[in-house]
Amino acid sequence: MMVFRQAKWDEPVLFELGGSSKQTFAVDDEFSGEAEEALSKAPRHVLRSVEPGIPNLSEVEVVRHFTRLSQMSYGVDLGPVPLGSCTMKYNPKVSEELASDRRIVDLHPYQDVDSVQGVLEIMYLMQKWLSEITGMDECSLQPPAGAAGEFVGALIIKKYHLDKGNTGKVEMIVPEAAHGSNPASSAMAGFKVVKIPTAPDGETDIEALKAVLSDSTAGLMLTNPNTLGIFESKIVEISDLLHGRDALMYYDGANLNGILGLVRPGDMGFDIIHLNLHKTFSAPHGGGGPGAGAVCVKSGLKEYLPVPIVDFDGRKYVFRYDLSRTVGRISWFYGNVVPIVKSFIYIATLGPSLREVAELSVLNTNYLMRKLAGLRGVSLAYGEGRWRKHEFVVSFEKLLKETGVSAEDVAKALLDRGFHAPTIYFPLIVKEAHMIEVTESESKENIDALANAYKEVVDLAYSSPELVKSSPTNTSVGRLDVLTANHPKTLAPTYRYVEKLKDEGP
């Protein structure tokens, strides 16, 4: 059994480090006379009146502070992060090194295209490769993350119908099991969200879909495999139903890892898709971001893509701005180029072996699922007898009823055993859910260890539930008080609030 003890530094907040008069980062004074002259001419009221409260620390203090904080963080380089729908795979070191080259990070976005032919070629190839992988015809790399790509998709659907004069297309259909960003993106594009349930076999309830389908339907947002990890086997029929009503099919690419090189959304009948390059194509997640989110469409929708896209004019790579129906810019410049470069290196390295990524991620998933499904108090949600793809969902409802130990308690106990917990309480249609995705990056030994950790926790829940409920104890801090954190009287989103609470109390 792996022993896990996370670093526990009693690390003060930056503002408590006692830095008022240290030697800070040196700045030259070649222009101090010029600065004085400029300041003396400037109207007083545009100049800073109160010095910001940033402490003045030496470099060694700053480096130790953040190094200690890094030791109290946990990423894929420390162990499995089996967060379902997040695809936390290994981030190759070669990508980090290459993408930090000066000839990438020092490039200015307004440089003449003649001076950026290398990076444009990379972006052009990525547009082509992502089209091939998804079975679509054209991609834009501009969305800075998956949700931004979804938003682009929803805007394309909106504009497509408006261009045809169909002002009545106001509804977007979204399964209850969908990622939360789907309904949120739809709402931002001005759609009314219509929900449909999941059938007992774990697939979209097609009768419910037929019942809500109408001339008001603008589109359907779907992820396939869905958030239960189950492949929507009636996807062609669903696409035909939607297309029969002149509605568009939108594919949420968050779950693409399980079908890479095996099945393509474009072939299933989808019209628009977004990808999360930081999930499927291994750009690191950065503790929350940056990501990169391509959006790809069938040829009929190409003119709607955000501009610019990269094109080859027969002689050199250029930016094209002349898409006639473009939804506009979703972000300034050309997307998050550094993660795009990392994904380029990933795809360039693996090439057609991307198929093995999908095969092993699915094999790993089902191997682990079998081990967990047999545990006491644990049940598989939906789709009995169905193989899963990139992820699966188990419910601890029975465990909670029988022992008082919740899905959250189990998650915290996994932390104590050196594993990041999976996604919990999602999808919303499963009670006491753990949504688990081990990706192709985990070895058999690691998957076995994770399964053993689950078994140990579940057994402990039946013998000494209070021990599970009092976890975690091996992490930097114990269980946190979320109510206090969120209460209006004790809310503390900055250090000023912390000081104020100290002085005045809640």
Binding site: L14, T349, E440, N486, P493
Partner: protein, 460 residues
């Protein structure tokens, strides 16, 4: 088979299959309609798996086609080349940080959470506001979210935007506002001062306006001295004032929050974050209200709390009920992934600088800008776009000929400046921007001015 896929060897793959009672992995896809299964290999990459040294060679061949300015780049337009301290690079390269996910499991992610809490605290202080979120994608999307938030909070659809705001930011706001039916109204420029025209603003303000959006230093590098008046006028119709500012300006220039701004936006590029060909960066979004507006605030927020037993301090994500994974179609935004790593870089850079270093860095940039303005105004063939204005970092110039042509000639001599403003507005085809930062020496600036004199003197 590849070493990024540990179970891809035939032996282990076979073991896993046997455990599941399967002969072939295709059986796991038996629920996929057969006509949907791809019967060929994907045509991606270079036809086969490459060894690491092959990828390195290939990559180097590709990026050797990229060229960089020989002296530090003078290119502006929202992003400028700054120095990224080695300590920043080293700390954001800690893989405990960069391979981490969003800190959903707080107890195992205290370090990341504390760092993001420190980012929020530093930025709130710098901008003079109460709350700053843990980052948006970049300055343009932070601006779009700010405008959408204002429209929700005020239940109004009209947004007034100064003509001196970055044109791409305006384009992004337009795209994001399409679904919500926002009406963007341009407020003209005062041609003398290079700032928002107060008279045009007054003529367009009404109780249908949700927000007024201004930028200082603005797109032309001009420090707007009328921001206070803009905010007062905005408040008169009970609308929200949104002020876009670059954080590096705030060592010397007044914090927008201190001038009464309700919402502040910015982008951290230059503060620990490289040019990156335009991205990634991190967007700054803050509000000066922790009640009404906080309910409409988009994005992730970290807060301080205690452990359940009350003994220790800790940090956790807060107010998640505003976010998409809980509130779904009623969320304040669809944002999920943000730009935590760049926010961390900005926090580290600010920590290295301290308030004193930030002030000195601000002065170093201001001094260079002043020197550039003086040097350019001595050139007969080049006019400053706004000669009377106070500039910070960027300066707008007008040439007697097409600006794109001038800048291309300059680039061919190894000196990069721009962008030409014709790319944004046809009538500004003879104008361009020049940016100076702490990286430039007097010699660099003199070289630029000499070259400009030569090139323009020759008629481009």
């Amino acid at each position: 088979m590849h070493n990024w896929i540990p179970n891809s060897s035939p032996e282990i793959r076979g073991e896993l299959l046997r455990d599941l009672g399967l002969k072939d992995v295709s059986e796991l896809f038996s629920d996929v309609p057969p006509q949907l299964l791809l019967a060929r290999d994907l045509n991606v990459g270079f036809g086969r798996t490459l060894a690491e040294y092959e990828v390195v060679r290939l990559f180097n061949t590709l990026i050797s086609k990229n060229r960089l300015s020989e002296v530090p780049s003078f290119m502006g337009g929202g992003l400028c080349q700054h120095y990224v301290p080695s300590a920043v690079k080293a700390l954001v390269s800690r893989s405990e940080f960069y391979t981490a996910y969003t800190p959903y499991q707080a107890e195992i992610a205290q370090g990341l959470l504390q760092a993001l809490f420190e980012y929020q605290s530093l930025m709130a202080d710098l901008y003079g506001v109460k709350v700053v979120n843990a980052s948006m994608y970049n300055g343009s999307t932070a601006s779009a979210e700010a405008v959408l938030m204002a429209a929700r909070a005020k239940k109004r659809r009209r947004i007034l935007i100064s003509e001196s705001v970055h044109p791409e930011v305006v384009e992004v706001i337009r795209t994001w506002g399409f679904g919500a039916g926002l009406e963007l109204v341009n407020v003209g420029l005062d041609r003398e001062s290079g700032q928002i025209s107060l008279s045009d603003l007054r003529s367009k303000l009404s109780d249908e306006v949700a927000a007024v959006f201004v930028q200082t230093p603005n797109f032309f590098g001009v420090v707007e001295s009328v921001v206070r008046e803009v905010i007062e006028e905005t408040h008169r119709v009970n609308a929200l004032s949104i002020v876009y500012t670059h954080p590096l300006a705030l060592g010397v220039l007044e914090a927008p929050g201190a001038m009464g701004a309700d919402v502040v936006v910015g982008d951290v590029q230059g503060l620990g974050v490289g040019l990156n060909f335009g991205g990634p960066s991190a967007g700054i979004l803050g509000i000066n209200d922790d009640k009404e507006l906080l309910r409409q605030f988009p994005g992730r927020l970290i807060g301080a709390t205690r452990t359940v037993d009350g003994r220790e301090r800790g940090f956790t994500m807060i107010l998640q009920t505003r976010e998409q994974h809980i509130k779904r179609e009623r969320a304040t935004s669809n944002i999920t992934t943000n730009a935590s790593l760049e926010a961390l870089a900005a926090a580290v850079h600010l920590s290295l600088l301290g308030s004193k270093g930030l002030r000195r860095l601000g002065e170093a940039i201001l001094g260079r800008t002043h020197y550039l303005v003086k040097s350019l105004s001595r050139l007969e063939s080049v006019d400053l776009l706004f000669p009377e204005a106070l500039h910070f970092r960027e300066v707008g110039v007008r040439f007697p000929v097409n600006a794109a042509q001038v800048l291309r000639t300059l680039a061919s001599r190894g000196v990069y400046a721009g962008p030409d403003l014709g790319r944004f507005r046809g009538e500004l085809g003879d104008c361009g921007l020049v940016c100076v930062t702490e990286l430039h020496t007097k010699r660099d600036i003199e070289l630029l001015v000499e070259l400009l004199g030569e090139v323009v003197g020759r008629g481009g």
